[in-house]
Amino acid sequence: MNTPARGSLLGIEHLEAKEILGLLKLARRMNPLKTRPLLRGKRVVLLFYENSTRTRSSFEFAAKSLGAMTTLLQASSSSIEKGESVLDTGYTLRAVGADCIVMRHPSAGAPHLMAEHLDIPVINAGDGMHEHPSQALLDAYTILKHQKSFKGLHVTIIGDIFHSRVARSACHLLTKFGVTVTLCGPPEFVPEVAATLAPGLRITRHIEDALRGTDVIMLLRVQKERMAGHRIKLESYIARYQMTAARLKLAKRDALVMHPGPIIRGLELTADVADGTQSVIVDEVRNGVPMRMAILARALGKAK
C-alpha cells in the first residue's frame, strides 16, 4: 500500500484548513462560462458505481471547461458488471491513459483502496456513507458567497445524519473553522455517537432548539427506503422535523437554506421553503462547477 498520489481528494477529514481555503480561493477564480485550456490533453475518467445527476454532470462540465477529455464509466455498462474488481478496473483505466479518476462508489473507502494502488490522483465523488468532499467544499463556497467568513457562524444540519456522507464531510469542514454545528433529528438518524465525529458538534432532538439563532440550515434528503427498517414513521418525521416557513422564522432573519439534493418537496421541506428567498439550493448546484474545476486543477497540478 502506498500513500495516495498528490492532488487526490479522498475526504475532508484529513485536509488542513489552509488547503481548504486554497481550494475555495481557486474556485473563485474559475469561470465555467469561459473555456480555459489549463488541463488540455489531460484524461479524466468519471467512474460511477452509483447513480448521480449533479455530481457527475458538474464534474464533467468542470473538466471540459478546463480543456480536459472525459470519459464516463458506469457500473451497468462496463466490465464491472462482469465481476471485475475495483482495483482491476483502476489498473485498466490507468493503462488506457487516465490522468485522474473521479470516483463514486456505494462502499465506504473504495476510493481509498483505489488511491493506495494507483499513481494517479483519485477524487472521491461520494463513497457509501463516508464522505462527499466536493459537496462540502461547494457548500462552503456557497456559504462564503453570503458570509464574510466562517467566524462565529452557527450551522444546523437536519435529517438523516447517520446515512449521510454529505453530513460527515460538512461536519469535518465546518468544525475545522470553528463553526458551531448542531445536528438535529431522531436517534435513528442522529445517534449519540455522531457527536464524536469532530470537536464542537452538538446534538438536539428538537428542531426549535436547533434553529434558534442559526445562520445556515442544511437539510438532508429523507430516504423512504431507509425509514422502512426503523421505528420512526414518515408522518411523525414530517411533523417533527420538516422545514416549514413557520419554523424558518426561528432562525436568523437572513439564514440560508441549503440542501445537497435531490430534494423531496413535502417531505424534508415544504415547497415554499425550497423556492423561498432564503433558499440557495439552486446556487449550490451552480457553484459545484467552479468548485470542481478547482479540485481538478489541483489534482492535475495546475492549481496556479
Binding site: 474488481s85 481509498h112 457509501g128 463516508h130 464522505e131 464524536t196 465525529l197
Partner: protein, 434 residues
C-alpha cells in the same frame, strides 16, 4: 514408528515453566520414544541422549496448544493447507492445533474428521479437528456427536456462524453433556449485525460503516451461560471472546460452577477499533476489534484467570479477498506466528502479567478446555511436545517471510519481544529459528 521417534532428546540448561506441574525453575528435560522420560534439576539426568539441545538462557515450556485455527482444508487450499498452516503453527511454537470445520465442505461427518487426521495431509504438528455442531453448520439439525467424537473430534462448533436457535443450542449442550463433549460457540446475534463490517463505535461512524454492537456478542454468551448452568454436566466454550459484557457472563457461569470456558485472541488483547484507520482490511475480523474499554476488561480477565486460553483464530485469506472494498473483504487475520510474541510484548512487558501465567494460557489452560490428555504439561509419561523460546529476544515480524500461504496479518513490521527458538513435537524438533 519411525527411527526418529525412537531417538532421545535432552533439553539442557533451560528455565522450565510448567504451570500445571507448578514448576518454574532451571530443569533439564529428557524425551524418549515420543514421551517425557525424565524432568530433573540441571545436570542430574544420567545416561546419554541421541541428541542434546542447549537451552541456556531460554524458557522451556510444554508444547503450546491453539484451540482455534482455520487450516482451510478441505476445499480452500488456495488460502492455506494443513501442511502450510501447521508449518506456521510450528514456527509460532504451537505443537497442537484445533481446526475449525467451516471448510468446503463443512466437516460434519466422521469421514472428514478422519481425513483431516490422516498422515497424508502432511501436518507438522498435532491436528485435533473440531467438527460441525449442526449438519452443514446450518444451525438446524445436530450432527452425529458420538460418531464425530469416536473419529477423533475434540469438540463441535458452527464457527463463523453462531448456533442461534435456543432449542438447537439447548439440544447441543444436552447431547454434549451425555458425551462429555464441549460445544464451542461463535457468539454473535447475527440479527443485530446484518451488513456490519466492524465494531459499532466512533470509528465505524467516522468511516461510514455499519457497526456490530458489543451486545450482539454478550447477549448470546449470556444465553449460553444460562443454558449451561441449567444443563447438568454440559460444557460450553466461548470462542474468541471480545467484549467486557461477555466476560461478566462467563464469570457468572464460573462462579456458579458451570463448565464454562473461554478463549481470547492476540489481536483482541492488542488492537482496538481505531486501528482500522483508513479501511485497513487486515484489521477486519469477526468478532471485530472492540473498544479500548473492552480491551482493558480483557487484560484484567487474562490476568485474573477468567480467560482459559489464548487462541489465535488464525484465519488466512488470499490477497484478492482482502484487497477489495472494506465491506466486501473477508473477515479474519493470520496469527500463529505472532501469538507468543504479542503475549510477551503486550501482556508480560507492558501489563506485567507473569510469564508463567502466559505459558498457562498457551498450555495447561487450553489442554483442560478440550481434555487433551497427556498434553499441556511435561509430567513424566506425557507426550514429548515442547516449546522452547527466548522471552527477551527482540525481533521484527515480516509477513513476507510467513510460513502461512496467506499474508493477512495486521502486525507486519511490528517490533516484538519474545521469539520461539525451537518447537518439538513427539520428541522431534520440527522447527528451529534461523
Amino acid at each position: 514408528m519411525t527411527r526418529q521417534e525412537n531417538k532421545s532428546l535432552l533439553i539442557r540448561g533451560g528455565q522450565l515453566i510448567d504451570p500445571a506441574a507448578k514448576i518454574n525453575a532451571p530443569m533439564d528435560v529428557l524425551l524418549r520414544e515420543g514421551r517425557v522420560a525424565e524432568v530433573a534439576p540441571p545436570n542430574k539426568i544420567r545416561g546419554s541422549a541421541d541428541e542434546k539441545f542447549d537451552a541456556r538462557g531460554l524458557a522451556v515450556a510444554p508444547g503450546f496448544i491453539d484451540l482455534h485455527v482455520h487450516l482451510r482444508e478441505p476445499g480452500q487450499g488456495y488460502k492455506e493447507t494443513i501442511a502450510t498452516g501447521t508449518a506456521a503453527a510450528a514456527a509460532g511454537g504451537f505443537t497442537s492445533v484445533c481446526t475449525m470445520p467451516n471448510t468446503a465442505p463443512v466437516v460434519d461427518t466422521a469421514e472428514w474428521v478422519t481425513w483431516l487426521r490422516s498422515p497424508e495431509r502432511g501436518a507438522m504438528v498435532n491436528v485435533f479437528p473440531i467438527a460441525a455442531a449442526t449438519r452443514g453448520s446450518r444451525g438446524t439439525t445436530l450432527s452425529d456427536f458420538g460418531g464425530l467424537q469416536r473419529a477423533g473430534a475434540v469438540a463441535v462448533t458452527d464457527d463463523g456462524k453462531p448456533i442461534l436457535n435456543d432449542d438447537v443450542m439447548r439440544a447441543a449442550l444436552t447431547l454434549g453433556a451425555q458425551l462429555n463433549f464441549p460445544i464451542v460457540q461463535h457468539a454473535e446475534d447475527t440479527r443485530l449485525t446484518v451488513n456490519c463490517s466492524m465494531h459499532a463505535g466512533p470509528t465505524a461512524f467516522r468511516l461510514g460503516l455499519f457497526g456490530m454492537p458489543a451486545v450482539a456478542e454478550a447477549a448470546i454468551v449470556d444465553r449460553d451461560v444460562t443454558l449451561a448452568q441449567h444443563i447438568r454436566e454440559s460444557r460450553l466454550h466461548v470462542a474468541h471472546l471480545s467484549t467486557a459484557d461477555s466476560l461478566k457472563a462467563v464469570r457468572r457461569g464460573k462462579r456458579a460452577r458451570a463448565r464454562v470456558t473461554c478463549e481470547v485472541t492476540p489481536h483482541h488483547f492488542t488492537l482496538i477499533d481505531e486501528n482500522v484507520g483508513e479501511y485497513d482490511t487486515n484489521c477486519k475480523m469477526n468478532p471485530p476489534l472492540r473498544s479500548a474499554s473492552d480491551l482493558e476488561a480483557i487484560l484484567v480477565a487474562l490476568a485474573d484467570g477468567t480467560v482459559d486460553a489464548i487462541a489465535t483464530d488464525h484465519a488466512p485469506h488470499a490477497l484478492h479477498e482482502k484487497q477489495v472494498e472494506f465491506e466486501r473483504a473477508s473477515f479474519g487475520v493470520t496469527g500463529l506466528e505472532t501469538a507468543l510474541a504479542l503475549a510477551i510484548t503486550k501482556l508480560h512487558r507492558e501489563h506485567r502479567i507473569p510469564l508463567a501465567r502466559i505459558v498457562e494460557l498457551f498450555t495447561a489452560g487450553p489442554a483442560r478446555v478440550f481434555d487433551l490428555r497427556g498434553r499441556g504439561s511435561l509430567a513424566k509419561g506425557n507426550f514429548a511436545d515442547v516449546t522452547i523460546f527466548d522471552p527477551k529476544k527482540r525481533w521484527t515480524f515480516e509477513v513476507a517471510k510467513s510460513r502461512s500461504m496467506s499474508r493477512n496479518s495486521p502486525f507486519d513490521g511490528w517490533q516484538l519481544t519474545g521469539k520461539v527458538v525451537a518447537t518439538v513435537v513427539g520428541g522431534k524438533i520440527v522447527h528451529r529459528a534461523d
